[in-house]
């Protein structure tokens, strides 16, 4: 296989499209993830717009019921798997190696593979639109609606197979970051000196690798039911539709912690920076993250309170779910404690972090009312749940991700996003979010079920729905402001390596960082390492004004670019695509993937032609 590199030479440079296609640099992979996920966010946002326009008035006929079901299914599936997760992974990619004083992740090519498989899997999911067979059974596709004959076209096959493809990307990424965080920390960075974002990434990565196999099995069983005649979830063959729910939610609940822990980590970095004091109660924040990661496995059936599991099961899950509110509360108290007696600067990043805390409190509280199963019997499957979901995922995850975007933007690009536009973005998003989703609490308690394409005027739901649809317009404008900010800021002036006077070691190097990150692997002096370094330098009379000096990149041993990750990813995607079209294609894809894997393992991490 090494002979292939004499036909197609191993890439060595960063230049051009080929440079991006073969990159193994975590910083570039971060950008790839971020841009791709943002595009998916726009698509899912349009889907949300269609939903809100349809629901803006009673008995509306803007869109047919079948198309409506496709809209909410794709909106949620895209947002969960193709927006929030990859945006978090984008931050893992950019920040983690820098934050732990490493030069890259443990497995750079595996990292690239994760991205390409994600991209191809996301495209595969959207090919369903092109062929007009779009998933329409909701983002958790309950059996047996998801089975034939009730979902007769290929929509659910696209859903299941695309998720299977993307799942491999997530597991590979999780594995990579677990090894990176445990094994690539710079000397002096003990576990209890790691930044909170790094800790949250570690816990999330462990959740990823343990939770995804469960849904993988569920999806495999669904695909087998639909295509190979089994009856795992088909009642007529003895199958139990509730088994799907168990498999899905044993994955699904850790999944929501996968969605929220990284943004919580971001907020835990931003709040101390702009309060100019360390995170309050660091060990408690870490410990509560660990407890949430573990207890998150013990609460799944609170999604199934109305399925009829019986009072004993419902009681157990009520208690465990109530208990998991405690570590979440601990984090919130510690964030407030960080602000307390601090010196708060309202940069856009800080405003998003504060917005996260404020909105997550609402989402967390409505979650507590869901935990109480007798009251959940009224709330389940209504807009009250939709309100809860969006407060925690939009007000929570998305706000946290924007906080991280504004915060690390100067490190990634060397320039800042415009603060005035940023503030406008924040306020529009904050107001729009509340306008859209707060009324939904009332809609749910007033009896409006979720996933209905229309409703009758007689229930008095129209007014709240109009408010919510108006809120969407505000959100739409907010996103336009953000996009404008990104383009507008491309020509802004360069900023220093450390514009925020921040505590993390990533701020000690140039912006954007050189390919090798650190010329010299740092010796970590404590938590908030860079603050310590800066204080020591001040005290010694030689304050730090410059980043770590750059050195000749050729003098540092870095992993070389490679085309095997994208090649292998094509194979994996073809396996999936073949299952959806011609099985022969799957065999071709399998062969390509296997060829790629073998060639990859024969290829050294650094090409011999590369210096050192």
């Amino acid at each position: 296989m090494a002979t292939i590199t004499s036909v197609i030479p191993r890439p060595t440079s960063y230049a051009g499209i080929w440079g991006w296609m073969t990159t193994v640099d975590h910083k570039r992979i971060a950008v790839l993830y971020g841009v791709t996920a943002f595009i998916f966010m726009l698509i899912a946002g349009i889907e949300a717009g269609v939903i809100r326009m349809q629901l803006a008035s009673a008995d509306n006929d803007l869109i047919a019921p079948g198309a409506y079901n496709q809209m909410f299914t794709m909106h949620a599936t895209t947002m969960v798997f193709m927006v929030i997760m990859p945006l978090s992974v984008s931050f893992f990619n950019f920040v983690i190696p820098l934050a732990i004083g490493a030069r890259d992740v443990a497995f750079p090519r595996l990292n690239a593979l994760s991205f390409w498989i994600f991209l191809f899997g996301g495209i595969l999911m959207h090919v369903s639109f092109v062929v007009g067979q779009v998933p329409d059974a909701g983002w958790f596709s309950y059996a047996n609606l998801s089975e034939k004959p009730f979902s007769a076209d290929r929509g659910l096959d696209y859903w299941a197979i695309s998720l299977l493809v993307m799942g491999t990307s997530s597991v590979a990424g999780g594995l990579n970051f677990v090894v990176t965080i445990i094994n690539l920390r710079a000397p002096g960075m003990s576990l209890m000196r790691m930044p909170v974002f790094v800790w949250m990434t570690l816990i999330t990565s462990l959740l990823l690798i343990l939770a995804f196999p469960v849904i993988t099995v569920g999806l495999i069983e669904l695909v087998m039911d639909r295509n190979f005649g089994t009856h795992f979830f088909v009642p007529s063959g003895g199958g139990d539709p509730v088994l799907w729910q168990h498999l899905f939610w044993v994955f699904g609940h850790p999944e929501v912690y996968i969605l929220i822990l990284p943004p919580m980590g971001v907020v835990s970095e931003v709040l101390p920076t702009f309060s100019r004091k360390p995170l309050f109660g660091y060990p408690f924040v870490i410990f509560s993250g660990i407890v949430i990661g573990i207890m998150g496995w013990a609460v799944w059936s609170h999604h199934m309170f109305t399925v009829g599991l019986g009072p004993v099961a419902n009681s157990v899950f009520t208690i465990t779910t109530m208990l998991i509110a405690v570590p979440t509360g601990v984090k919130i108290f510690n964030w407030i404690g960080t602000l307390w007696k601090g010196s708060i600067e309202f940069t856009t990043a800080m405003m998003f972090a504060l917005g996260f805390v404020a909105l997550f409190i609402v989402g967390g509280l409505s979650g507590v009312s869901h935990a109480v199963s007798p009251s959940d019997f009224q709330q389940q499957d209504t807009y009250y749940i939709v309100a809860h979901i969006h407060y925690v995922l939009f007000g929570g995850s998305i706000f946290g991700i924007f906080a991280g975007t504004y915060y690390w933007w100067p490190k990634i690009t060397g320039k800042m996003l415009n603060e005035t536009l940023g503030r406008l973005h924040f306020w529009l998003l904050f107001i729009g979010m509340n306008l859209t989703f707060f009324p939904m609490h009332f809609l749910g308690m007033n009896g409006m079920p979720r996933r209905i394409y229309t409703y009758s005027a007689e229930f008095g739901w129209e007014y709240m729905n109009q408010l919510a649809s108006l809120g969407y317009v505000v959100l739409f404008i907010a996103f336009l402001v953000f996009i404008h900010n990104v383009f507008y800021s491309r020509n802004s002036r360069r900023v220093s390596h450390d514009p925020w006077d921040a505590p993390g070691v990533e701020w000690s190097i140039a912006s954007p960082p050189p390919p090798y990150n650190f010329a010299e692997v740092p010796q970590i002096l404590g938590r908030d390492h860079y603050w310590i370094v800066k204080e020591n330098a001040e005290a010694a009379g030689t304050p730090i004004t410059e980043p770590e000096p750059l050195v000749d990149p050729n003098s540092i041993h870095m992993p070389s670019p490679s085309y095997w990750p994208i090649f292998t990813a094509v194979g994996v995607a073809l396996i999936g695509g073949g299952l959806l079209s011609h099985y022969a294609l799957s065999f071709v894809g399998g062969a390509i993937a296997m060829l790629g894997a073998i060639a990859w393992s024969n290829e050294p991490t650094t090409a011999p032609s590369d210096h050192h």
Partner: protein, 384 residues
């Protein structure tokens, strides 16, 4: 640390803008609370029976706990944001790392609170499992979910009489109704918010619940009609899978039971309708009493395996004349609406199986003249 009298100096404008924003936000929230909690139709804010009442009582306590926690925690957050904002020239703040006793207190207190609420809710859960001992004899009803309508079977509605009806569930007041929930196709959910929380109808499972309508809670004269809706995505017409529960006194209920299935008096005009019905509709619809189990089974098989022109389980029409709504609770039942429905069900309920499977609809709207439809309606609405 600067004294608070300086707090409105150069940042006065910003802080008053923030104060105004906060006040506006609070006012908006209060307004929403005032306007948002309606008691109409399917609202959960009003309970007409003990099950919904207990669930609402629990929620009301939770609501106050949530509101209090919200005000407390958001209040502290807002206070911190305002009080500790940076003013020019501020020194570096004290680098506090934490406070272990505070942490322990803030872990233990919420734990006690959530456990208390959790344990109370567990007690409520078990209390609500069965109707109270020593009360009136419960009435058994089996509710079967179908795409996209509700079937109600009373194994013994009174005096051993079996009744099967659809989309409108009649119950006597002040008597527990023990409900067995089943489904013949996909997962549906049975929800009458004013009587109880929902419970799913899962194929291969029988889920049991009970509720009761209390005369002292209903503040209207009987009969009172309550709203219900399917609350689990079940396909194309999920949004239009609704039903009604009519609460009557025991006597009126008994009269309805007695009249059920009585042979109709058919006017001359309706005779043609009777023939049309027999020719076009009896493959799926039963009109002369409870469905025959073997016939039901064959309709189900046809539905699950078949294509066009195969039987499907369809609402029992025996007592159609006594119903108030049509097509599973989505529109009032009268001659006009029934005419429109028969003319083209797809217009009213997109995705319905009648349009998809019945011969009459092979070419879109019904292959019947208006007169024929009128006579069909005459027959249907003469039925008791």
């Amino acid at each position: 640390m600067q004294s608070s009298s300086n707090s409105n100096r150069s940042t006065g404008r910003r802080s008053s803008l923030k104060n105004r924003t906060v006040l506006f936000g609070l006012a908006a929230a209060l307004f929403l609370f005032a306007v948002g909690c309606s008691k109409d139709g399917q609202s959960t804010w009003e309970a007409f029976g003990p099950v919904a009442q207990k669930q609402l009582d629990l929620f009301n306590v939770l609501l106050w706990v949530m509101v209090a926690t919200f005000i407390l925690v958001e209040g502290v957050l807002l206070y911190a944001i305002v009080r500790y904002r940076r003013r020019p020239g501020d020194p570096k703040p004290p680098q506090i790392h934490g406070n272990t006793s505070l942490e322990i207190a803030l872990t233990i207190i919420p734990t006690i609170l959530v456990l208390a609420l959790g344990i109370w809710s567990v007690f409520t859960l078990f209390e609500l499992q069965d109707p109270p001992e020593g009360g009136p004899e419960p009435l058994q009803v089996t509710v079967t979910g179908h795409q996209w309508w509700f079937e109600f079977e009373y194994p013994d509605a009174g005096g051993g009489k079996k009744i099967i009806t659809a989309n409108e569930m009649r119950i006597p007041v002040d008597r527990p109704i023990e409900i067995a929930l089943e489904s013949d196709d996909v997962i549906h959910s049975f929800w009458v918010p004013k009587l109880a929380g929902k419970l799913d109808m899962v194929p291969t499972h029988v889920n049991r619940m009970w509720f009761q309508a209390d005369s002292d809670k209903l503040n209207e004269d009987l009969p009172v009609t309550l709203y219900g809706q399917c609350a689990e995505l079940c396909g194309l017409a999920h949004a239009l899978m609704r039903f009604r529960v009519t609460v009557m006194d025991q006597d009126d209920f008994d009269s309805w039971v007695a009249a059920y299935g009585a042979p109709p008096t058919i006017s001359d005009k309706a005779k043609k309708g009777q023939q049309l019905f027999a020719a076009n509709c009896t493959l799926c619809h039963t009109i002369d009493g409870p469905d025959d189990p073997a016939l039901s089974a064959s309709r189900l098989t046809g539905f699950l395996t078949g294509g066009d022109i195969t039987p499907v389980p369809a609402p029992n029409l025996t007592d159609l004349r006594t119903r108030q709504t049509l097509a599973s609770g989505i529109t009032d039942l009268n001659e006009t609406s029934l005419h429109e429905w028969i003319r083209n069900p797809e217009d009213i309920k997109p995705g319905n199986y009648m349009s998809e499977r019945a011969v009459m609809y092979q070419n879109g709207p019904a292959s019947l003249t208006d007169e024929e439809i009128d006579s069909l309606i005459g027959y249907l609405l003469d039925l008791r």
